[in-house]
Protein backbone atom coordinates (compact mmCIF):
# COMPACT_ATOMS: atom_id res chain seq x y z
CA UNK A 1 0.00 0.00 0.00
CA UNK A 2 1.15 3.52 -0.73
CA UNK A 3 0.08 6.38 1.51
CA UNK A 4 -0.04 10.00 0.40
CA UNK A 5 -0.10 12.71 3.04
CA UNK A 6 -1.20 16.19 1.93
CA UNK A 7 0.76 18.89 3.69
CA UNK A 8 -0.15 22.52 4.10
CA UNK A 9 2.70 24.92 4.81
CA UNK A 10 1.40 27.33 7.46
CA UNK A 11 2.72 30.04 9.77
CA UNK A 12 3.72 28.83 13.21
CA UNK A 13 0.74 28.85 15.59
CA UNK A 14 2.22 31.57 17.79
CA UNK A 15 2.78 33.97 14.84
CA UNK A 16 1.44 37.47 15.31
CA UNK A 17 -0.51 38.18 12.12
CA UNK A 18 0.58 41.36 10.30
CA UNK A 19 -0.99 42.89 7.23
CA UNK A 20 -0.03 44.97 4.21
CA UNK A 21 -0.73 48.71 4.57
CA UNK A 22 -4.00 48.42 2.59
CA UNK A 23 -5.14 45.42 4.70
CA UNK A 24 -5.67 43.40 1.53
CA UNK A 25 -2.92 40.87 2.21
CA UNK A 26 -1.14 39.18 5.09
CA UNK A 27 2.46 40.27 5.57
CA UNK A 28 4.41 37.04 5.88
CA UNK A 29 7.81 38.64 6.46
CA UNK A 30 9.71 37.03 9.32
CA UNK A 31 7.17 34.20 9.68
CA UNK A 32 8.31 30.74 10.81
CA UNK A 33 6.68 28.06 8.65
CA UNK A 34 5.54 24.71 9.96
CA UNK A 35 3.67 21.61 8.83
CA UNK A 36 -0.02 22.27 9.50
CA UNK A 37 -0.68 20.64 12.92
CA UNK A 38 -3.40 18.26 11.65
CA UNK A 39 -1.26 17.22 8.65
CA UNK A 40 1.58 16.55 11.07
CA UNK A 41 -0.66 14.13 12.99
CA UNK A 42 -1.69 12.47 9.69
CA UNK A 43 1.98 12.04 8.75
CA UNK A 44 2.76 10.66 12.20
CA UNK A 45 0.05 7.99 11.86
CA UNK A 46 1.28 7.05 8.37
CA UNK A 47 4.83 6.57 9.75
CA UNK A 48 3.50 4.52 12.69
CA UNK A 49 1.60 2.24 10.29
CA UNK A 50 4.66 1.75 8.07
CA UNK A 51 6.90 1.02 11.04
CA UNK A 52 4.40 -1.48 12.42
CA UNK A 53 3.94 -3.27 9.12
CA UNK A 54 6.54 -2.44 6.44
CA UNK A 55 5.29 -5.28 4.27
CA UNK A 56 1.86 -3.67 4.09
CA UNK A 57 2.81 0.00 3.84
CA UNK A 58 5.50 0.25 1.20
CA UNK A 59 5.83 3.97 0.75
CA UNK A 60 4.79 7.29 2.26
CA UNK A 61 4.72 10.28 -0.06
CA UNK A 62 4.06 13.85 1.03
CA UNK A 63 2.64 16.50 -1.30
CA UNK A 64 2.01 20.22 -1.13
CA UNK A 65 0.93 22.91 -3.57
CA UNK A 66 3.11 25.97 -3.21
CA UNK A 67 6.18 27.89 -4.25
CA UNK A 68 9.80 26.89 -3.69
CA UNK A 69 9.57 28.50 -0.26
CA UNK A 70 7.37 25.56 0.84
CA UNK A 71 10.22 23.09 0.28
CA UNK A 72 11.77 23.34 3.78
CA UNK A 73 8.43 22.15 5.19
CA UNK A 74 8.42 19.17 2.79
CA UNK A 75 12.02 18.42 3.79
CA UNK A 76 10.91 18.42 7.41
CA UNK A 77 8.20 15.86 6.52
CA UNK A 78 10.90 13.75 4.81
CA UNK A 79 13.05 14.08 7.93
CA UNK A 80 10.13 12.82 10.04
CA UNK A 81 10.03 9.66 7.96
CA UNK A 82 8.22 10.20 4.63
CA UNK A 83 9.96 8.47 1.70
CA UNK A 84 9.53 11.04 -1.04
CA UNK A 85 7.86 14.36 -1.74
CA UNK A 86 5.98 16.17 -4.48
CA UNK A 87 5.59 19.93 -4.77
CA UNK A 88 3.02 21.21 -7.22
CA UNK A 89 4.44 24.52 -8.33
CA UNK A 90 1.27 26.53 -7.68
CA UNK A 91 1.16 29.16 -4.96
CA UNK A 92 -1.86 31.08 -3.68
CA UNK A 93 -5.47 30.49 -4.69
CA UNK A 94 -8.39 29.18 -2.67
CA UNK A 95 -9.28 25.64 -1.57
CA UNK A 96 -10.77 24.75 -4.96
CA UNK A 97 -7.58 25.90 -6.71
CA UNK A 98 -5.35 23.96 -4.30
CA UNK A 99 -7.45 20.78 -4.48
CA UNK A 100 -7.41 20.97 -8.29
CA UNK A 101 -3.61 21.22 -8.26
CA UNK A 102 -3.27 18.24 -5.92
CA UNK A 103 -5.76 16.16 -7.93
CA UNK A 104 -3.85 16.93 -11.13
CA UNK A 105 -0.60 15.67 -9.62
CA UNK A 106 -2.15 12.60 -7.97
CA UNK A 107 -4.55 11.36 -10.67
CA UNK A 108 -3.43 7.99 -12.03
CA UNK A 109 -0.70 7.62 -9.38
CA UNK A 110 -0.89 4.46 -7.27
CA UNK A 111 -1.86 5.96 -3.92
CA UNK A 112 -4.17 3.75 -1.88
CA UNK A 113 -4.77 5.92 1.13
CA UNK A 114 -4.68 9.71 0.95
CA UNK A 115 -4.55 11.52 4.29
CA UNK A 116 -5.49 15.18 4.72
CA UNK A 117 -5.72 17.16 7.96
CA UNK A 118 -9.28 18.30 8.71
CA UNK A 119 -8.32 21.94 8.47
CA UNK A 120 -5.32 24.16 8.04
CA UNK A 121 -4.43 26.63 10.75
CA UNK A 122 -4.22 29.58 8.31
CA UNK A 123 -7.59 29.82 6.54
CA UNK A 124 -9.37 27.14 8.61
CA UNK A 125 -11.25 26.07 5.49
CA UNK A 126 -11.73 22.33 6.09
CA UNK A 127 -12.17 21.99 2.34
CA UNK A 128 -9.18 20.61 0.43
CA UNK A 129 -9.52 16.96 1.55
CA UNK A 130 -13.18 16.61 0.55
CA UNK A 131 -12.60 18.47 -2.71
CA UNK A 132 -9.65 16.22 -3.58
CA UNK A 133 -11.79 13.11 -2.94
CA UNK A 134 -14.53 14.44 -5.19
CA UNK A 135 -12.09 15.44 -7.95
CA UNK A 136 -10.52 11.95 -7.85
CA UNK A 137 -13.96 10.33 -7.48
CA UNK A 138 -12.74 8.41 -4.40
CA UNK A 139 -14.68 7.57 -1.27
CA UNK A 140 -13.90 9.69 1.74
CA UNK A 141 -14.42 9.63 5.48
CA UNK A 142 -14.08 12.84 7.47
CA UNK A 143 -13.40 13.51 11.17
CA UNK A 144 -11.28 10.36 11.33
CA UNK A 145 -9.69 9.85 14.76
CA UNK A 146 -8.17 6.39 14.32
CA UNK A 147 -6.89 4.44 11.34
CA UNK A 148 -5.93 0.80 10.86
CA UNK A 149 -5.09 -1.07 7.70
CA UNK A 150 -5.78 -4.78 7.14
CA UNK A 151 -4.95 -6.01 3.65
CA UNK A 152 -6.96 -3.84 1.30
CA UNK A 153 -9.47 -2.96 3.99
CA UNK A 154 -9.32 0.42 5.70
CA UNK A 155 -10.81 0.64 9.18
CA UNK A 156 -11.37 4.01 10.75
CA UNK A 157 -13.15 5.69 13.62
CA UNK A 158 -15.22 8.72 12.72
CA UNK A 159 -16.10 11.24 15.42
CA UNK A 160 -19.78 12.18 15.44
CA UNK A 161 -21.76 14.47 17.75
CA UNK A 162 -21.49 12.96 21.22
CA UNK A 163 -19.82 9.76 20.10
CA UNK A 164 -18.05 7.79 17.42
CA UNK A 165 -18.58 5.35 14.59
CA UNK A 166 -16.44 2.50 13.42
CA UNK A 167 -16.31 2.46 9.62
CA UNK A 168 -14.88 0.11 7.05
CA UNK A 169 -14.04 1.10 3.51
CA UNK A 170 -11.68 0.01 0.77
CA UNK A 171 -8.73 1.67 -0.91
CA UNK A 172 -8.40 3.98 -2.74
CA UNK A 173 -9.83 6.38 -0.21
CA UNK A 174 -9.31 9.90 1.10
CA UNK A 175 -9.31 10.16 4.89
CA UNK A 176 -9.75 13.56 6.48
CA UNK A 177 -8.18 13.25 9.88
CA UNK A 178 -8.38 15.06 13.18
CA UNK A 179 -7.01 14.86 16.67
CA UNK A 180 -6.70 11.32 18.00
CA UNK A 181 -5.30 9.86 14.74
CA UNK A 182 -1.95 10.24 16.50
CA UNK A 183 -1.22 11.76 19.88
CA UNK A 184 2.25 13.27 19.75
CA UNK A 185 3.55 14.50 16.41
CA UNK A 186 6.75 12.84 15.19
CA UNK A 187 9.84 14.99 15.60
CA UNK A 188 12.68 14.53 13.09
CA UNK A 189 15.79 12.79 14.42
CA UNK A 190 19.28 13.97 13.50
CA UNK A 191 19.63 10.94 11.26
CA UNK A 192 16.25 11.74 9.70
CA UNK A 193 17.39 15.27 8.94
CA UNK A 194 20.58 13.96 7.28
CA UNK A 195 18.79 11.37 5.11
CA UNK A 196 16.02 13.83 4.15
CA UNK A 197 18.56 15.79 2.07
CA UNK A 198 18.99 12.89 -0.31
CA UNK A 199 15.34 11.85 -0.60
CA UNK A 200 13.46 12.66 -3.83
CA UNK A 201 11.51 15.91 -4.00
CA UNK A 202 9.76 16.09 -7.35
CA UNK A 203 8.41 19.39 -8.68
CA UNK A 204 5.29 19.13 -10.84
CA UNK A 205 4.10 22.01 -13.04
CA UNK A 206 0.82 23.68 -12.07
CA UNK A 207 -2.41 22.71 -13.81
CA UNK A 208 -4.73 25.22 -15.41
CA UNK A 209 -7.25 25.99 -12.66
CA UNK A 210 -9.35 28.90 -11.57
CA UNK A 211 -10.25 29.65 -7.97
CA UNK A 212 -13.87 29.95 -6.86
CA UNK A 213 -13.25 32.67 -4.32
CA UNK A 214 -10.77 35.39 -3.46
CA UNK A 215 -9.75 37.37 -0.39
CA UNK A 216 -11.13 40.91 -0.37
CA UNK A 217 -9.41 42.12 2.79
CA UNK A 218 -8.55 41.56 6.41
CA UNK A 219 -9.36 43.15 9.74
CA UNK A 220 -7.84 42.66 13.14
CA UNK A 221 -10.44 41.09 15.44
CA UNK A 222 -12.13 43.58 17.77
CA UNK A 223 -10.19 44.26 20.98
CA UNK A 224 -11.68 42.68 24.06
CA UNK A 225 -12.46 45.14 26.83
CA UNK A 226 -10.39 44.70 29.99
CA UNK A 227 -11.17 41.73 32.19
CA UNK A 228 -13.26 42.68 35.22
CA UNK A 229 -11.68 41.16 38.34
CA UNK A 230 -13.98 39.75 41.00
CA UNK A 231 -13.20 39.05 44.64
CA UNK A 232 -12.96 35.26 45.12
CA UNK A 233 -14.89 35.67 48.39
CA UNK A 234 -17.79 37.31 46.56
CA UNK A 235 -19.19 34.84 44.05
CA UNK A 236 -22.65 36.44 44.33
CA UNK A 237 -21.08 39.39 42.52
CA UNK A 238 -20.08 37.13 39.62
CA UNK A 239 -23.60 35.70 39.40
CA UNK A 240 -25.06 39.22 39.56
CA UNK A 241 -22.81 40.53 36.76
CA UNK A 242 -23.43 37.54 34.50
CA UNK A 243 -27.17 38.01 35.00
CA UNK A 244 -27.56 41.79 34.79
CA UNK A 245 -24.50 43.03 32.88
CA UNK A 246 -23.50 40.21 30.50
CA UNK A 247 -27.05 38.78 30.42
CA UNK A 248 -25.91 35.26 29.76
CA UNK A 249 -27.66 33.51 32.65
Amino acid sequence: MNILVCISNVPDTTTRIKYSADMKAVDYSGVQWIINPWDELALTRAIELKEANPALVQKITVITAGGADAEPTLRKALACGADDAIRVDAAGGDSLFTATQLAHAVKGEPFDVILCGIESSDYNGSAVGGMLAELLDYNSVSAVSSLNLEGNSVKVTREIDGGKQSIETAAPVVLIVQKGIAINPRIPSMRGIMTARTKSLKVVAAAAASPGSKVVGYQAPPQKSACKMIDPENMDELVHLLHTEARVI
Partner: protein
Protein backbone atom coordinates in the same frame (compact mmCIF):
# COMPACT_ATOMS: atom_id res chain seq x y z
CA UNK B 1 -31.79 33.08 -7.10
CA UNK B 2 -32.78 30.36 -4.70
CA UNK B 3 -31.01 29.17 -1.56
CA UNK B 4 -30.68 25.49 -0.70
CA UNK B 5 -29.96 24.60 2.92
CA UNK B 6 -28.97 21.05 3.87
CA UNK B 7 -30.41 20.19 7.28
CA UNK B 8 -29.02 17.32 9.28
CA UNK B 9 -31.11 15.35 11.77
CA UNK B 10 -30.10 13.48 14.90
CA UNK B 11 -32.24 10.35 15.25
CA UNK B 12 -35.03 12.08 13.39
CA UNK B 13 -34.86 15.27 15.46
CA UNK B 14 -33.59 18.76 14.79
CA UNK B 15 -31.64 20.96 17.18
CA UNK B 16 -31.34 24.62 18.02
CA UNK B 17 -28.56 24.88 15.43
CA UNK B 18 -31.00 23.65 12.77
CA UNK B 19 -33.38 26.54 13.52
CA UNK B 20 -30.50 28.98 13.32
CA UNK B 21 -29.45 27.52 9.97
CA UNK B 22 -32.99 27.60 8.54
CA UNK B 23 -33.74 31.18 9.60
CA UNK B 24 -30.31 32.19 8.28
CA UNK B 25 -31.22 30.59 4.95
CA UNK B 26 -34.48 32.53 4.88
CA UNK B 27 -32.75 35.87 5.52
CA UNK B 28 -30.16 35.02 2.90
CA UNK B 29 -32.91 34.19 0.37
CA UNK B 30 -34.67 37.46 1.22
CA UNK B 31 -31.43 39.37 0.69
CA UNK B 32 -30.96 37.74 -2.69
CA UNK B 33 -34.62 38.24 -3.61
CA UNK B 34 -35.19 34.49 -3.95
CA UNK B 35 -36.78 31.53 -2.25
CA UNK B 36 -35.54 29.05 0.34
CA UNK B 37 -35.52 25.28 -0.16
CA UNK B 38 -34.43 22.84 2.54
CA UNK B 39 -33.09 19.35 1.99
CA UNK B 40 -33.38 16.71 4.72
CA UNK B 41 -31.72 13.31 4.31
CA UNK B 42 -32.83 10.50 6.62
CA UNK B 43 -36.07 9.73 8.39
CA UNK B 44 -37.73 12.73 9.96
CA UNK B 45 -41.40 12.80 10.98
CA UNK B 46 -43.65 15.20 9.06
CA UNK B 47 -44.40 17.24 12.23
CA UNK B 48 -40.72 17.80 12.89
CA UNK B 49 -40.25 19.01 9.29
CA UNK B 50 -43.40 21.18 9.38
CA UNK B 51 -42.08 22.93 12.51
CA UNK B 52 -39.36 24.47 10.37
CA UNK B 53 -42.02 26.60 8.66
CA UNK B 54 -41.88 28.92 11.67
CA UNK B 55 -38.18 29.58 10.96
CA UNK B 56 -38.73 30.45 7.31
CA UNK B 57 -38.85 27.11 5.52
CA UNK B 58 -40.90 27.19 2.32
CA UNK B 59 -40.25 24.03 0.39
CA UNK B 60 -38.68 21.08 2.19
CA UNK B 61 -37.26 18.24 0.15
CA UNK B 62 -37.32 15.08 2.22
CA UNK B 63 -35.00 12.32 1.04
CA UNK B 64 -36.10 9.41 3.16
CA UNK B 65 -33.41 6.83 3.65
CA UNK B 66 -31.88 4.68 6.36
CA UNK B 67 -28.43 4.97 4.78
CA UNK B 68 -25.96 6.51 7.27
CA UNK B 69 -23.71 9.37 6.22
CA UNK B 70 -21.60 8.43 3.21
CA UNK B 71 -19.76 11.49 1.95
CA UNK B 72 -20.06 10.66 -1.73
CA UNK B 73 -23.69 9.53 -1.68
CA UNK B 74 -24.94 12.42 0.43
CA UNK B 75 -22.96 15.01 -1.55
CA UNK B 76 -24.38 13.66 -4.78
CA UNK B 77 -27.93 13.99 -3.44
CA UNK B 78 -27.33 17.56 -2.21
CA UNK B 79 -25.68 18.68 -5.46
CA UNK B 80 -28.52 17.09 -7.43
CA UNK B 81 -31.13 18.94 -5.37
CA UNK B 82 -29.20 22.20 -5.85
CA UNK B 83 -29.25 21.75 -9.62
CA UNK B 84 -32.91 20.70 -9.78
CA UNK B 85 -33.92 23.74 -7.75
CA UNK B 86 -31.66 26.24 -9.50
CA UNK B 87 -29.94 27.05 -6.24
CA UNK B 88 -27.45 29.87 -6.48
CA UNK B 89 -26.27 29.47 -2.88
CA UNK B 90 -25.96 26.20 -0.94
CA UNK B 91 -25.67 26.46 2.84
CA UNK B 92 -24.63 23.89 5.43
CA UNK B 93 -23.71 24.00 9.11
CA UNK B 94 -20.00 24.27 9.88
CA UNK B 95 -20.03 21.05 11.88
CA UNK B 96 -18.62 17.58 11.24
CA UNK B 97 -21.20 16.76 8.58
CA UNK B 98 -20.95 20.13 6.84
CA UNK B 99 -17.17 19.87 6.75
CA UNK B 100 -17.45 16.41 5.18
CA UNK B 101 -20.03 17.33 2.55
CA UNK B 102 -19.63 20.97 1.55
CA UNK B 103 -16.27 20.50 -0.27
CA UNK B 104 -17.62 17.60 -2.33
CA UNK B 105 -20.82 19.51 -3.14
CA UNK B 106 -18.75 22.54 -4.17
CA UNK B 107 -16.73 20.48 -6.66
CA UNK B 108 -19.87 18.91 -8.10
CA UNK B 109 -21.37 22.36 -8.64
CA UNK B 110 -18.09 23.91 -9.80
CA UNK B 111 -18.60 26.35 -6.97
CA UNK B 112 -16.34 28.36 -4.72
CA UNK B 113 -16.61 27.41 -1.04
CA UNK B 114 -16.06 29.65 1.94
CA UNK B 115 -16.47 27.80 5.20
CA UNK B 116 -17.24 28.94 8.73
CA UNK B 117 -18.80 32.26 7.68
CA UNK B 118 -19.99 34.59 10.45
CA UNK B 119 -23.54 35.72 9.78
CA UNK B 120 -25.08 37.17 6.64
CA UNK B 121 -22.96 38.27 3.66
CA UNK B 122 -21.31 41.67 3.89
CA UNK B 123 -22.52 42.23 0.33
CA UNK B 124 -24.83 40.17 -1.90
CA UNK B 125 -23.58 41.56 -5.21
CA UNK B 126 -20.66 40.87 -5.33
CA UNK B 127 -21.13 37.98 -2.90
CA UNK B 128 -18.79 38.79 -0.02
CA UNK B 129 -18.78 36.89 3.28
CA UNK B 130 -16.86 37.36 6.50
CA UNK B 131 -15.05 34.68 8.47
CA UNK B 132 -12.30 34.20 11.01
CA UNK B 133 -8.86 33.21 9.80
CA UNK B 134 -5.62 32.15 11.46
CA UNK B 135 -7.56 30.34 14.18
CA UNK B 136 -9.35 33.45 15.36
CA UNK B 137 -6.41 35.84 15.14
CA UNK B 138 -7.76 37.61 12.06
CA UNK B 139 -11.05 38.47 10.38
CA UNK B 140 -11.20 38.00 6.65
CA UNK B 141 -13.63 38.99 3.93
CA UNK B 142 -13.81 36.76 0.89
CA UNK B 143 -15.73 37.07 -2.35
CA UNK B 144 -17.13 33.94 -3.95
CA UNK B 145 -16.75 34.50 -7.67
CA UNK B 146 -18.32 31.35 -9.13
CA UNK B 147 -21.93 31.25 -10.41
CA UNK B 148 -23.04 28.89 -7.65
CA UNK B 149 -21.74 29.54 -4.15
CA UNK B 150 -21.32 27.16 -1.24
CA UNK B 151 -20.93 28.32 2.36
CA UNK B 152 -20.90 26.72 5.78
CA UNK B 153 -22.22 28.76 8.70
CA UNK B 154 -20.39 29.01 12.04
CA UNK B 155 -22.71 28.03 14.83
CA UNK B 156 -24.15 30.69 17.11
CA UNK B 157 -23.18 33.59 14.82
CA UNK B 158 -26.51 34.30 13.11
CA UNK B 159 -29.19 33.93 15.79
CA UNK B 160 -32.67 32.46 15.38
CA UNK B 161 -35.57 34.37 13.82
CA UNK B 162 -39.13 33.31 13.31
CA UNK B 163 -41.27 33.93 10.23
CA UNK B 164 -44.91 33.50 9.34
CA UNK B 165 -45.49 30.79 6.81
CA UNK B 166 -46.01 27.13 6.26
CA UNK B 167 -43.64 24.52 4.92
CA UNK B 168 -44.54 22.28 2.00
CA UNK B 169 -42.91 18.85 2.00
CA UNK B 170 -41.85 17.13 -1.17
CA UNK B 171 -40.39 13.62 -1.09
CA UNK B 172 -37.41 12.93 -3.27
CA UNK B 173 -36.22 9.61 -4.59
CA UNK B 174 -33.29 7.92 -2.87
CA UNK B 175 -33.48 4.52 -4.54
CA UNK B 176 -30.28 5.06 -6.52
CA UNK B 177 -28.14 5.87 -3.43
CA UNK B 178 -25.14 3.61 -3.03
CA UNK B 179 -22.50 3.67 -0.32
CA UNK B 180 -18.78 3.01 -0.50
CA UNK B 181 -18.38 3.09 3.26
CA UNK B 182 -19.85 0.69 5.80
CA UNK B 183 -20.71 1.67 9.36
CA UNK B 184 -19.72 -1.26 11.58
CA UNK B 185 -20.87 0.22 14.89
CA UNK B 186 -21.99 3.48 16.47
CA UNK B 187 -21.41 4.59 20.05
CA UNK B 188 -23.26 7.65 21.26
CA UNK B 189 -23.34 8.95 24.81
CA UNK B 190 -26.87 9.72 25.84
CA UNK B 191 -28.09 12.15 28.43
CA UNK B 192 -25.03 14.39 28.12
CA UNK B 193 -25.22 17.94 26.88
CA UNK B 194 -23.32 18.15 23.61
CA UNK B 195 -20.35 20.46 23.61
CA UNK B 196 -21.28 21.72 20.14
CA UNK B 197 -24.83 22.66 21.18
CA UNK B 198 -24.23 23.94 24.72
CA UNK B 199 -25.07 27.50 25.73
CA UNK B 200 -22.74 27.17 28.71
CA UNK B 201 -19.44 25.28 28.79
CA UNK B 202 -17.45 24.56 31.96
CA UNK B 203 -13.87 23.71 31.08
CA UNK B 204 -10.97 22.62 33.25
CA UNK B 205 -7.22 22.82 32.73
CA UNK B 206 -4.06 21.60 34.34
CA UNK B 207 -4.87 23.83 37.32
CA UNK B 208 -7.47 21.23 38.30
CA UNK B 209 -4.41 19.17 39.34
CA UNK B 210 -5.80 15.67 38.82
CA UNK B 211 -8.59 13.62 37.30
CA UNK B 212 -10.00 13.05 40.78
CA UNK B 213 -10.75 16.75 41.17
CA UNK B 214 -13.35 16.85 38.38
CA UNK B 215 -16.34 16.20 40.61
CA UNK B 216 -16.79 19.85 41.71
CA UNK B 217 -16.45 20.96 38.07
CA UNK B 218 -19.16 18.53 37.03
CA UNK B 219 -21.31 19.81 39.86
CA UNK B 220 -21.03 23.37 38.56
CA UNK B 221 -21.84 22.14 35.05
CA UNK B 222 -24.88 20.31 36.44
CA UNK B 223 -26.19 23.44 38.18
CA UNK B 224 -25.75 25.52 35.00
CA UNK B 225 -26.99 22.87 32.56
CA UNK B 226 -23.58 23.14 30.94
CA UNK B 227 -21.40 20.83 28.88
CA UNK B 228 -18.00 19.89 30.30
CA UNK B 229 -14.76 20.44 28.44
CA UNK B 230 -11.02 20.58 29.02
CA UNK B 231 -7.74 21.94 27.72
CA UNK B 232 -5.24 19.90 25.75
CA UNK B 233 -2.85 18.89 28.54
CA UNK B 234 -5.82 17.46 30.44
CA UNK B 235 -6.91 15.20 27.58
CA UNK B 236 -3.28 14.31 26.78
CA UNK B 237 -2.83 13.22 30.41
CA UNK B 238 -5.96 11.10 30.07
CA UNK B 239 -7.77 12.94 32.88
CA UNK B 240 -10.64 13.57 30.49
CA UNK B 241 -11.64 12.00 27.13
CA UNK B 242 -10.27 13.51 23.91
CA UNK B 243 -13.70 14.55 22.65
CA UNK B 244 -13.81 17.11 25.49
CA UNK B 245 -10.63 18.85 24.32
CA UNK B 246 -11.37 22.43 23.31
CA UNK B 247 -8.70 24.32 21.41
CA UNK B 248 -7.05 24.69 18.06
CA UNK B 249 -6.63 20.99 17.31
CA UNK B 250 -9.62 19.95 19.42
CA UNK B 251 -13.11 21.43 19.26
CA UNK B 252 -13.86 25.04 18.48
CA UNK B 253 -16.80 26.18 20.58
CA UNK B 254 -19.00 29.30 20.55
CA UNK B 255 -21.18 29.20 23.68
CA UNK B 256 -22.79 32.21 25.34
CA UNK B 257 -20.79 31.54 28.49
CA UNK B 258 -17.44 29.76 28.83
CA UNK B 259 -15.75 28.98 32.15
CA UNK B 260 -11.98 28.50 31.95
CA UNK B 261 -11.03 26.90 35.26
CA UNK B 262 -7.32 26.47 35.87
CA UNK B 263 -6.56 27.05 32.19
CA UNK B 264 -3.55 29.32 31.59
CA UNK B 265 -4.79 30.40 28.15
CA UNK B 266 -2.18 29.23 25.63
CA UNK B 267 -2.79 30.60 22.14
CA UNK B 268 -3.91 27.11 21.01
CA UNK B 269 -6.63 27.10 23.65
CA UNK B 270 -7.78 30.65 22.87
CA UNK B 271 -8.19 29.59 19.21
CA UNK B 272 -10.92 27.22 20.35
CA UNK B 273 -12.84 29.65 22.55
CA UNK B 274 -12.48 33.08 20.95
CA UNK B 275 -16.04 32.99 19.59
CA UNK B 276 -17.54 32.59 23.07
CA UNK B 277 -19.75 35.55 23.98
CA UNK B 278 -18.59 35.78 27.61
CA UNK B 279 -15.55 34.14 29.20
CA UNK B 280 -15.08 33.69 32.96
CA UNK B 281 -11.58 32.68 34.06
CA UNK B 282 -10.37 31.37 37.39
CA UNK B 283 -6.63 31.05 37.87
CA UNK B 284 -4.24 31.37 40.77
CA UNK B 285 -1.67 33.11 38.57
CA UNK B 286 -2.63 36.77 38.05
CA UNK B 287 -0.28 36.89 35.01
CA UNK B 288 -2.02 34.00 33.20
CA UNK B 289 -2.77 35.00 29.58
CA UNK B 290 -6.35 33.73 29.96
CA UNK B 291 -7.17 36.98 31.78
CA UNK B 292 -6.50 38.99 28.62
CA UNK B 293 -9.13 36.91 26.78
CA UNK B 294 -11.64 36.77 29.66
CA UNK B 295 -14.47 39.17 30.49
CA UNK B 296 -14.59 38.28 34.18
CA UNK B 297 -11.64 37.02 36.16
CA UNK B 298 -11.11 35.53 39.59
CA UNK B 299 -7.64 35.09 41.05
CA UNK B 300 -7.70 32.24 43.47
CA UNK B 301 -7.35 28.57 44.21
CA UNK B 302 -9.95 26.40 42.50
CA UNK B 303 -10.31 24.08 45.44
CA UNK B 304 -11.83 26.91 47.45
CA UNK B 305 -13.30 29.08 44.65
CA UNK B 306 -15.15 26.37 42.73
CA UNK B 307 -17.46 25.16 45.54
CA UNK B 308 -18.32 28.78 46.43
CA UNK B 309 -19.06 29.54 42.80
CA UNK B 310 -21.29 26.49 42.45
CA UNK B 311 -23.13 27.46 45.62
CA UNK B 312 -23.76 31.00 44.34
CA UNK B 313 -25.15 29.72 41.03
CA UNK B 314 -27.27 27.14 42.85
CA UNK B 315 -28.77 29.90 44.99
CA UNK B 316 -29.45 32.01 41.89
CA UNK B 317 -31.03 29.14 39.95
CA UNK B 318 -33.32 28.14 42.82
CA UNK B 319 -34.40 31.78 43.24
CA UNK B 320 -35.43 32.00 39.58
Amino acid sequence: MSVLVYIENWNGKFKKSTYELVSYGKRLANGLGGSLTLLSIGRVAEDELKNLGAYGAGKILSAETDAPLDDKAYASLIAGAAKNNDASVVVMAHNGTGKALAPRVAVRLNAGLVSAVNGLPVSFQPFVVSKKAFSGKSLMQAEITSDIKVITLSQNTAGIETFAGEAVIEKIDTSSMTSGTKVLSTEVQTGKILLSEADVVVSGGRGMRSADNWKPLEELAGVLGAATACSRPVSDEGWRPHHEHVGQTGKVVAPNLYFALGISGAIQHLAGISSSKVIVAVNKDPEAPIFSAADYGIIGDLQTVLPKMTEAFRKFKSGN
